[in-house]
Subunit: 148 residues, 2 copies
DNA sequence: CTTTGTGCAAACGATTTGCAGGATG
DNA sequence: CATCCTGCAAATCGTTTGCACAAAG
């Protein structure tokens, strides 16, 4: 799988954030950068340890936690019981397919939200995010069986 | 706490949805209707069993699950590890205070989202929901200490 | 009386934690 | 070489499940 993110840039990003560079961290972050879905810890684990084991699950958790604190990664909570991770930390929205349950990034400028500086009740607004629900392209062409 | 929801209307709602009317269900649903925060199962439990025990935790879970299937209640996932419940099933947005972590309902018409029938990629849109982040009124006046 | 709900305790599954040995800067 | 990370297993914690008894229609 060719990708635009070289290990070098990953190493640099980690170092830049003051994180120690370890093979596990590089592998996890790199994996997250390569994929556009929003994997769970188990999916990442499965990916990393296909051949020889690269990392334990506890380490993946701790790595993701470090990456999150460093602002390289964010958590996505759209489904009960599991936390998903996203290496796209730029502001964007999410589309959730009600059929196959996949989560797709929606570019920030694809939606236009009018938001006053404060809401009724006087709550000060600092940011926002839209979750859009519907049926994704693949499910539509697949005829809707819930598989994609 | 005076409230506009009489037990009668709760009973009626349950019956209307074809759910058997039990004291536990009435208590749980009623509790959810009375409060405007978005409680977790533990909070509901604590509320119900202040005096004499009304319901076991397993029953609260099963009740909430029935209420959700009946469309009387919805789940809210905005925080890791816990599911919150909302008796407001009409479309609305949510405000999340980054200081005290409270969740406040935002009326549907307080925000204006321009949404095409389909997104880039051809995904068909059926609904959407905005999560707004910021500092709530009480935290602002409290001077920001994280308490409210 | 038949069906469905409740309570309790055990089972689960995702995430965290403690600690000894190993790698990083 | 001091510090931080990794791996493993045990510990947590929210949620689910199995089953016997009780309540609802």
């Amino acid at each position: 799988m060719t990708n635009v993110y070289t290990s070098d840039s990953v190493v640099e990003a980690l170092r830049h954030k003051g994180l120690r560079v370890t093979p596990q961290r590089v592998a996890v972050y790199n994996n997250l950068l390569e994929r556009s879905d929003h994997p769970t810890v188990d999916q990442i684990m499965g990916d990393l340890n296909q051949g020889l084991p690269i990392s334990s699950k506890a380490t993946v958790y701790s790595t993701l936690s470090s990456l999150r604190e460093a602002g390289l990664v964010r958590e996505i909570l759209l489904e009960e019981g599991v936390t998903r991770y996203d290496s796209n930390v730029a502001p964007h929205h999410h589309f959730r397919c009600t059929s196959c349950k996949c989560i797709i990034d929606v570019p920030w400028n694809a939606l236009n939200v009018s938001l006053a500086a404060s809401l009724p009740g006087g709550h000060a607004v600092s940011s926002h995010e839209v979750t859009v629900y519907g049926v994704c392209q693949s499910c539509q062409s697949a005829g809707d069986s819930g598989k994609n």
